[in-house]
Symmetry: D2
Subunit: 131 residues, 4 copies
């Protein structure tokens, strides 16, 4: 398992007509956290061949987010078979309030739509653990 | 429980860099199916006072969607306590292949962020059932 | 010059916190009108090699659009040098009120980022005119 | 006239199927720059009564942006009659290359859709100039 942190600021166009961050946007935040993890660990070259595809995702929305809220995404990445399991907690950074929990299952697929194992480069990072 | 059907066509900007509909977009489709249900049953006036807010959602992505795919969303709406339960199946309309299953739990919240029961007008429609 | 018509319905998540369609969404509508033109005239195979890239765009927003509004996009496509000129008028279909005018200039670029002429297949359609 | 700077990082879901930032997303960046200006100068309370609405916008796209690009938006805000004129230059921050120029005209509208003058609080900031 490998932990990773990602920070974002809520942007105006992410709000819906109720004036808070729309539920679909949280999946975009989760995706950003995954790309961020890939970038930090120099794993972006993986995506030349394989693309991460979400197979399953569950979100629990606990507290709304608003314009300019600074958010902190704490993510744990692990593998289970050929699945990369992504567990995100999205916090309002100022107050520390938990806004959303997301559990996603991601597989790696080639351009010709063949499913592959979690790439070795990623497995190595996961096995390293959090030092 | 009340059933409802909604049809959409995949638009170019809904694709991500892998060339298929991005996982977050499916939540937008689910939201569209809910608004469509509200509209068909003349429930839009409810939203003058109360706003539907997603508390929880689980998606299982089974088959990718691509540009111009015609999709059919078959939705079952029911209530459980003060929660509106929305179960969507998103089909590729041409082939009949199931692309995604979504189960969402929606609550109704006033502008001052107080949670309310499922509005009576909606309960009436749910109790009507599918004739 | 070739004329083309495209119809869409405004979706809930396209509204911003002011309760009307966000200005950026109109460019997505324009993009949808272009893809629709490509599809109608069996030009999609062009995009295996070349991708339409917007170089310039001007929008005049005249009348707001709201949830469930049925819109009709009337588009004129023409060429000027190696540029595809796209002139869109977005109407509220029920009232016939003009909501937005968009003039876009699109070029065709290969995966290796080389700019090409407007593809012959498209030129043929433009020269056909409106019969 | 008042100058303002805003920094963003390109997020994965902002890319389209050509692998670069979609043209519509630049308007979201411009909107973010405007909200940022409002926030920096403590003008957010203005939006309790009046909402900034884009009347017109012209974009010239000069250089594509890709995943993780750090961007810097240099914006000049001025008034012309009852219009707030927003001139944005979007730079790739690492290389200093200009990616896009946007000129937007924004008006201020109340919830009942009446157009107002540029609010006094904003006029004061514009007249202050850049010290």
């Amino acid at each position: 398992m490998k932990h990773s942190t990602c920070r974002l600021t809520v942007r105006g166009y992410e709000l819906d007509s109720f004036g808070h961050v729309n539920n679909a946007v949280y999946l975009q935040y989760a995706e950003t956290a995954l790309w961020n993890f890939m970038k930090i660990h120099q794993l972006m070259s993986v995506t030349d061949m394989l693309f991460p595809v979400v197979m399953e995702s569950t979100q629990r929305y606990l507290h709304e987010l608003k314009l300019f809220d600074e958010i902190r995404i704490e993510s744990d990445f692990s593998s289970s078979g050929s699945v990369l399991v992504c567990e995100h907690k999205i916090y309002h950074d100022g107050t520390g309030i938990l806004s959303c929990r997301i559990k996603g299952k991601v597989i790696f697929v080639s351009r010709d739509r063949i499913m592959h194992d979690v790439p070795e480069e990623i497995m190595k990072i996961l096995e390293e653990g959090n030092s």
